[in-house]
């Protein structure tokens, strides 16, 4: 008889034990339905988690948990992995006790319960949300290892709620003199942000649902503002109040934070729109390619000003570009997934993606961004991201001007 080693070799020649030896799951009776009345991911997916970036913030309540973009597919963010950004921690509000007020320049200041709001004519739309500070650690130079930390303050959900316009009409808002609205939260921070009346009358929603279910507590349950195309801080969570006014409020998060420091020492305020941006998520920083050959290079593109029109990808650090395939649907102020073929020959390469939106605007290179805004800014970094593939297959975060 053959030795065990020889037996294993013979078997290897015959084929893969994963096929030749029946697996437990194909020879057993599985788990019943509703074993998990509310389901969870496979235990083999545990590596994909929201994570803090060590040293970024001084507390875990005024902080960020980054979404693991390196493991995402398509454009929808699973609610359990939506990025988190709180100013004073997240709270779990009893929706029956929640109230929503509209006041200021309105004929009749009003109070609504969740029951009232959820009876109103609702809309459902898919939009991205990006924190204004996303990619902030990268303003000056390459600082963090993976796309989770460089770009992970980004998510995309189908929101359902009542258009803010419907509510403003319901209260008789003064649309002639009221040029701004203030949104205020009901958490400890009661965060406020000024929203333009133009947006308020266009596509802003007072939303209670994300991806088919109610908002998650971390994302504002039971009510948040959805301000498509605008940085996340304006999407006020645990929303309790909208006030109509004729001047911006200059709130703390409009003066001390979310202002863009320019090379001349001036601070740009109310820089709200998230301009056109993209990033390759696979392969990306901190990953190892599994050998030479074909890869489907995949990433995300978005614009706060409209739809994505085109995404180009470079494999030589920006010298030459090829146009990627865009997955459908391609929606307004929404993530668009792109894919492009690549055959890796095993030599070093620098991968970049460059998005163009429906206004014709093209995502800038770092050099172009630095030339205008310097290197000491924090917010609204939409520069082209570079991933350097070493001949070992390891992918590194680098900046190309």
């Amino acid at each position: 008889a053959a030795t065990p080693a020889a037996g294993a070799a013979a078997q290897a020649a015959q084929g893969d034990p994963m096929i030749l030896q029946p697996r437990p799951w194909s020879t057993m009776l599985g788990h019943p339905v509703a074993f998990h009345p509310y389901g969870v991911p496979s235990k083999y997916e545990a590596n994909l988690q929201r994570r803090q970036s060590p040293g970024l913030t001084q507390t875990a309540q005024a902080s960020v948990a980054f979404a693991p973009l390196q493991g995402f597919f398509g454009i929808i963010t699973p609610n359990g992995l939506h990025f988190e950004r709180h100013h004073q921690g997240w709270v779990d509000i009893d929706p029956d006790q929640h109230r929503f007020m509209i006041n200021g320049m309105v004929k009749e200041p009003k109070v609504y319960t969740m029951d009232d709001l959820m009876r109103m004519p609702s809309v459902s739309r898919i939009h991205f949300i990006e924190c204004g500070a996303n990619t902030g650690m990268e303003w000056g130079n390459a600082a963090v290892p993976t796309v989770q930390y460089t770009h992970g303050m980004l998510s995309c959900c189908e929101y359902t709620g009542v258009p803010l316009k419907v509510l403003l009409d319901d209260c008789g808002a003064d649309l002639k003199n009221g040029k701004y609205v203030l949104a205020e939260g009901n958490d400890g921070s009661s965060t406020t942000r000024t929203i333009s009346m133009e947006a308020a009358l266009d596509d802003v929603m007072v939303a209670w649902a994300m991806n088919g279910e109610m908002l998650r507590p971390e994302n504002g349950y039971p009510l948040r503002l959805v301000v498509p195309g605008v940085q996340g801080v304006s999407w006020v969570k645990w929303l309790r109040r909208i006030k109509v006014g004729d001047q911006p409020w200059n709130a703390m998060n409009e003066t001390s934070a979310y202002v863009d420091l320019m090379p001349d020492g001036m601070l740009r305020q109310y820089t709200s729109i998230q301009e056109c941006k993209s990033v390759i998520t696979s392969p990306s920083g901190g990953q190892m390619l599994m050998g030479k050959g074909y890869y489907n290079v995949s990433g995300l593109a978005w614009s706060g000003r409209g739809k994505i029109k085109q995404v180009d990808v470079s494999f030589d650090g920006g010298r030459n570009w090829r146009t990627a395939r865009l997955e459908t649907p391609i929606l307004d102020k929404c993530l668009t997934r792109f894919n492009i073929d690549w055959v890796w020959d095993g030599s070093p390469a620098i991968l970049q993606s460059r998005a163009m939106d429906s206004t014709g605007f093209v995502q800038p290179r770092y050099g172009q961004l630095h030339a205008v805004r310097g290197t000491r800014s924090t917010y609204h970094n939409n520069a082209i991201q570079s991933w350097q593939v070493a001949d070992t297959g390891e992918v590194f975060n680098v900046h190309v001007e």
């Binding site: 209260c171 001390s256 740009r268 190892m288 000003r305």
Partner: protein, 226 residues
């Protein structure tokens, strides 16, 4: 108006309870006052544990006070914002309107017990911070009556620009890349690479990537393979 017969009119008491926002023109500011001295007491008991005894520094939070000069109080533009040598950007270096601070402290501080301060407490603690920032003297009493004077001395009151380009959805962008496709750069220069120490600074990346698929996470507990 009231097309749906849903919701109801807010009562005066409800408006009073929630209509707490204060604008740069002081609309919304409740009457009241507080001295630097009383502010010092509140600060030491209620704020210092997080923000430090003099509001200037401690190990945890970005300082509120510091980085501003008498000259800034004159110009209304904080000069140290231009200096890469300035280690941090304090609140007083940036905030242009005193209303912002009043509004924020009243709604959000102390962090672990927000909305516990009375208006007079806010005037007091703000007077204390203004004194630390050398904007008001030690014997100052801040009130709704004199707050406009303080505004006129805010060090960065002229340091902000309302940037329409990124406020309006149709605003004008400030960068102007083109969709060049071929031979776009003479040569590619890597301006900055992830520092070697940062490869493992966010934990072992092998445990942060899926266990199947086109890639694996790099084992950053070991040095990068060469």
């Amino acid at each position: 108006m009231n097309a749906f017969s849903l919701g109801r009119e807010a009562t005066p008491a409800e408006l009073q309870a929630w209509n707490i926002d204060v604008r740069p023109d002081f609309k919304g500011l409740p009457p009241g006052s507080g001295t630097v001295e009383r502010g010092n007491t509140i600060w030491d008991s209620t704020c210092a544990s997080c923000h430090g005894t003099f509001g200037e520094s401690n190990e945890v939070f970005t300082p509120i006070v510091g980085g501003t000069t008498d000259e800034d109080i004159k110009t209304g533009h904080v000069a140290s914002l231009l200096s890469p040598a300035q280690p941090v950007r304090t609140t007083f270096m940036k905030v242009d309107t005193i209303s912002t601070m009043w509004d924020f402290i009243y709604r959000a501080m102390p962090w672990n017990k927000p909305k516990s301060l009375k208006p007079d407490d806010v005037y007091a603690v703000l007077a204390y911070l203004l004194n630390l920032a050398e904007i008001v003297p030690e014997d100052y009493t801040l009130s709704d009556k004199n707050i406009a004077e303080v505004q006129a001395r805010m060090p960065n009151r002229n340091g902000m620009v309302f940037w329409k380009g990124m406020w309006d959805v149709n605003g004008k962008p400030d960068t102007h890349n083109t969709a060049c496709m071929k031979d776009c750069m003479p040569d590619v220069k890597v301006a900055s690479s992830l520092p070697a120490y940062a490869r493992n600074s966010n934990g072992d990346l092998a445990t942060q990537m899926r266990i199947v698929g086109p890639v694996r996470g790099a084992d950053t507990l070991k040095p990068a393979p060469t």
